[in-house]
Amino acid sequence: MKNMVVVGVLLLSLMPHANGAGFSPPGKPTLTSCRSPEKETFTCWWEPGSDGGLPTTYRLFYLKENIETVYECPDYLTAGENSCFFSKNNTSIWVNYNITVVATNELGSTMSDPVDIDVMYIVMPHPPEKVLVSVLEDKDWPFLRVSWEPPQKADTRSGWITLVYEVRIKLEEKDDWEVHLAGQQRVFNIFSLLSGGTYIVQVRCKPDHGFWSEWSSSTYVKVPNYFHRENSVWILITTFTAFIFLIVSWMIHMNRHSLKHCILPPVPGPKIKGFDKQLLKSGKSGDVFNALVASDFPPTTPPRCEDLLVEYLEVYIPEERELMREESKHLQDGFLKSEGFASDSDSGLGSCNSHTLLMDNSGEAKETDRRTDQERSRPGAEALTYAREDVSPDMSSGRVKTWPSVFSPLTPYSSGPTDQPGAKQHCLSDSVYPPGSTSPCSAQDLGLNYWEFCFSSMQPHLTQTRSDVNVSDIGPERAAARQQSPAPRPTEYVEVQRVSEEDMVLLQPVGPGPGPPARPGEDYSRVKGVRGHNVLLLQTEEEADGRACEELETKGAAHKPTACSHGGLPAPGRAAPAASGYVDTAMFVLPSC
């Protein structure tokens, strides 16, 4: 009795344990995938659920489209565990399969979710086979040729299945694959390889509607060293060239200023007072020269020292007479230069030519004036005229500027001899300022200088005029000189003896021999102004005080009364002023050689 109760209790205790000890109907299996390698057969795999602790069997059932019959999987073994293999006979393309897996154990069975498949769209071929990689050369540059075969089972020959391929390559030590789509061809070339590198190549394939296959097994290939010998030589050459280039460019950079001067020397601008570069650029030469004439001849404003001391007075020896027959337009420049006979610069040539021209053209005009003036002024013209001069600050060079219109050329000079090779020509400077106006240049600016005239034996008038110009020879001496028939004298020079405070220059003749003569007197008169082209207004000592100032004329210029307040002329009044205060400019004919 007790044993039976114990057994019964045991049984009772066991029975619920048997029920709750994990024994249950199987869990729901799941169809994981179905694949067809060649579109002729296919395989389905499933994942079993829990088995409920009991041995569970799995069965696969399927329905074909529009057919009521339920079929069971024909082959559970070929494809391994938990799989079902459909052979060719059991496979229909373009037919919808409805597949279900049923798990069964002692306690029950469970159905999986059905899956619809069409074999057409579940094709996943095997990887391509016989992948061969060879190294070929294309004009000394190697490349890889990859070739393969389609998987054996996929029937591409009959056109049943069409495959497209893909190739990938990477260096052995790297991680990045380089993928190339090869289309339907079975050969592929890869270029741009690293010299001496080891590559891994793989191929895979896919039907036109389906899944990519697995990558084929790796194929290793080594690229030979092709870059070696060319590379090093070129690298050396390139480095060397770059180095030299750097050095050269640095040297050029250091010397860029001197190079610039050498290659592109600065262009000397036209240093002509009143010359407007802009007008010249505009191309109208007439305007340029008109501007020159209108603006500064005679200068209406007192020129500053800097203006006056722009250019040098140079005297040069002309080689041919033709130099004197320059264009008439130079006349309007009013520029005359005298060259220092020691200098040989060329810049004075042009102006010397213009100077001669000036003298040429004005010669005829002045001649009659000169004659008449001579008669007029002969009786008592004691006034001396001297030109105000502008002296360049460079005293050492011995240059003096003179006013060109002071001097008029002699008639014989204009028609003059054609051969005076050795004679010097005196050129006057171009600085012009209204006579009578106080030059801002103080006496200190004017230095002692000597002024040379050339005397030609063939020009008797020259000597006459020269003597006229002589400051020292005043009064009767001059008159006598005038009345004399000019005898040809050898080359005579007039020397500027000294410069007074009020911008007056004392001239004295220099004899043929060396050395200046005795110090001349101090009779002089100041040039007050210019009238016309050939009339020089001089200011006498008496007039310096004021009266003659009313007669002061400048060509188109404003009246400058301040000029008349100048006083203190040291002239002892020896010379009686001319009645009109005029001095014939003909007396100041500039000799030309």
Binding site: L63, N66, N98, R157, G159, W160, T162
Partner: protein, 230 residues
């Protein structure tokens, strides 16, 4: 000035005319000639097959896209009962469902099957396009695809007929394929079945049938002209 404008516009018009005329002429310049007389650009059979196959591939691609769109936006329940009993209106046409079956079939038969399929889909696709353009559920892109699809069916049929002609001319195929003149005879009498199909089912069926056509053409090509890309 008006004279200049007028002459300029006349010149432009002439230029435009010339361009278009040459374009039209070039389109007509290369007809496929049935008889090889001089000046006619004759295509080889392989070439014809390649063109036709390309055309069918494109047609299938479009149908695939449209079907995916349908599935995305109007996903029918996959667990529908009766889904298995979907019935394409072309199911009456006997088509080989496997490689062996297709290879065992004679060329004439296979060509016939292809033509039947193409003929059977001409009207349904046209109506499908009409219904799609009236519905605003679809964007213009899908509507254009439907139109293109229906045009392509028609063009493909013309192309396949040309191939059949060529094959008959070359003696590869017998002249028994006489259904070309009146393909409507091939259709089942109850041809209005397709009107009952829903849009999604129609697309599903057409996707499959276009794939069949493409595959059959490839098989024919590799059987008849095997050297080119088979």
């Amino acid at each position: 000035m008006p004279g200049n404008v007028g002459s300029a516009s006349a010149g432009w018009g002439l230029l435009v005319c010339l361009v278009f005329c040459t374009r039209l002429a070039s389109v007509r310049a290369a007809p496929i000639c049935s008889s090889a007389h001089a000046g006619c650009h004759v295509l080889s059979l392989a070439n014809l097959f390649d063109r036709v196959i390309q055309h069918s591939a494109r047609m299938h691609g479009i149908s695939n896209d449209l079907h995916s769109e349908f599935e995305q936006y109007f996903l029918p329940s996959k667990n529908q009962i009766g889904r298995v009993s979907r019935n394409c209106h072309t199911s009456t046409i006997l088509t080989p469902n496997g490689k062996e079956n297709a290879q065992r079939m004679a060329r004439d038969e296979l060509m016939q099957v292809i033509l039947k399929l193409l003929v059977a889909w001409r009207d349904p696709l046209w109506h499908f396009h009409q219904s799609m353009s009236h519905q605003h559920d679809f964007n213009n892109f899908s509507s254009n695809k439907a139109l293109e699809m229906s045009d392509m069916v028609h063009e493909l049929r013309t192309g396949v007929e040309k191939v059949a002609e060529k094959m008959q001319m070359l003696g590869i195929m017998s002249n028994s394929v006489s259904g070309l003149t009146s393909p409507e005879i091939l259709l089942p009498s109850d041809s209005s079945e397709w009107r009952l199909m829903k849009d999604y089912d129609l697309l599903y069926c057409f996707r499959r049938d276009s794939n069949k056509v493409q595959n059959y053409l490839k098989i024919l090509k590799c059987r008849i002209v095997p050297d080119h890309g088979c």
